[in-house]
């Protein structure tokens, strides 16, 4: 099963091989193209991890509010603070992208 997964991944890399053909045609700008690709990948990774972290924070908050409805105000305050701080980590990636792309 693991071997099949690795084979599929290698096949996908082989399918992406024509990408390198473009580098020969425009040598001067071949380095610039990697910026766009890496921008896409890095933003996707940052947003995905940020999504996971915010899901964990929200789940903990919902459970806390369910267990102790009297403390819902304080828990909500901690939730908003935590969510904004986690969100800002994904935004740092976005700022780098805007600085480098364009």
């Amino acid at each position: 099963m693991r071997f099949k997964t690795i084979l599929i991944l290698l096949a996908l890399f082989a399918v992406a091989a024509p990408l390198f053909a473009q580098g020969g045609a425009a040598q001067g700008s071949s380095d610039k193209q990697w910026i766009y690709i890496s921008a896409g990948f890095s933003m996707a990774i940052a947003s995905g991890l940020c999504g996971l972290a915010q899901a964990k924070a929200t789940a903990a908050c919902a459970e806390g509010m369910a267990r102790n409805p009297g403390a819902a105000g304080s828990i909500r305050f901690a939730l908003i603070l935590g969510l904004a701080l986690i969100e800002s980590l994904a935004l740092y990636t976005l700022v780098i992208i805007f600085a480098k792309v364009g």
Partner: protein, 244 residues
């Protein structure tokens, strides 16, 4: 990308160009186009400052104990909310800082919301404006720390025990410098990304769909103004805390 001049900026540049150039030269800065020194975000900030002053002047004139109007109710809710947050984060003795927190909150909130009005744009979309607010906050919490603790405020940077000080001082300095940086980037990136997303969807989809993203941008404007103020309160509470 050359900045498109808004009508207000055009007014400033047409009539007050010399004044703007002389103010810039006071700081030793030269505008890239000396004939048109006013930038969009400067005139938008001036507009927001005027709006805030007028709103609060009118509000103050119409304050009434027995027959409060609608505006008074709205601002009482906001004031109670800010005061409650400040009491929770800084403590009862932190009421003196509430004036700065309130000013910061309303200034950033009005700046963020100005972008929704048709011929204006949010000055917080440019990195200079959140940087200004963040530097002001950095100076404020350090000054309040010195005022509350005297020279003993520097003990905050030295860590819990004296022999860890050579290790803790660089760490504390870097973490304190990272605070205005993160405040700036958080506010700037949220506002900038909100506008970009709306623009992208205006290019892609008909009328109702970009307005959903504009609504999200309005919600994010409130949230980011609140978060900026909340983090300011947290930093001030850390700075004025008396060592036990």
């Amino acid at each position: 990308m050359p900045e498109h001049e808004l009508w207000l900026t055009k007014l400033f540049n047409d009539y007050l160009a010399g004044f703007g150039a002389s103010i810039l030269s006071l700081a030793g800065v030269h505008a890239e186009n000396p004939a048109r020194p006013w930038a969009n975000f400067i005139t938008m900030q001036i507009l927001v400052a005027l709006i805030v002053m007028v709103v609060f002047a009118v509000l103050g004139a119409r304050l009434s104990m027995d027959r409060p109007g609608k505006m008074q109710h709205i601002f009482e809710v906001l004031y109670d909310f800010l005061r409650g947050q400040s009491d929770e984060v800084v403590g009862r003795h932190g009421r003196t800082y509430l004036s700065y927190f309130g000013t910061l909150f309303f200034f950033i909130l009005f700046m963020n919301l100005l972008g929704v009005v048709p011929t204006f744009e949010s000055p917080t979309m440019f990195p200079y404006v959140p940087a200004g607010c963040a530097i002001a906050t950095f100076l404020y919490y350090n000054l309040m720390g010195f005022r509350a603790n005297g020279a003993g405020y520097l003990r905050h940077y030295m860590g819990p025990v004296w022999y860890l000080a050579p290790l803790m001082i660089p760490i504390e300095i870097v973490s304190n410098l990272a605070r205005p940086l993160s405040l700036t980037i958080r506010l700037f990136a949220n506002m900038f990304a909100g506008e970009q997303v709306t623009l992208v969807f205006i290019g892609l989809a008909p009328l109702a769909i970009p307005s959903v993203f504009m609504g999200l941008h309005v919600f994010v404007s409130f949230l980011q103004a609140y978060i900026f103020t909340l983090l300011t309160m947290v930093y001030v509470s850390g700075a004025v805390a008396h060592e036990r």
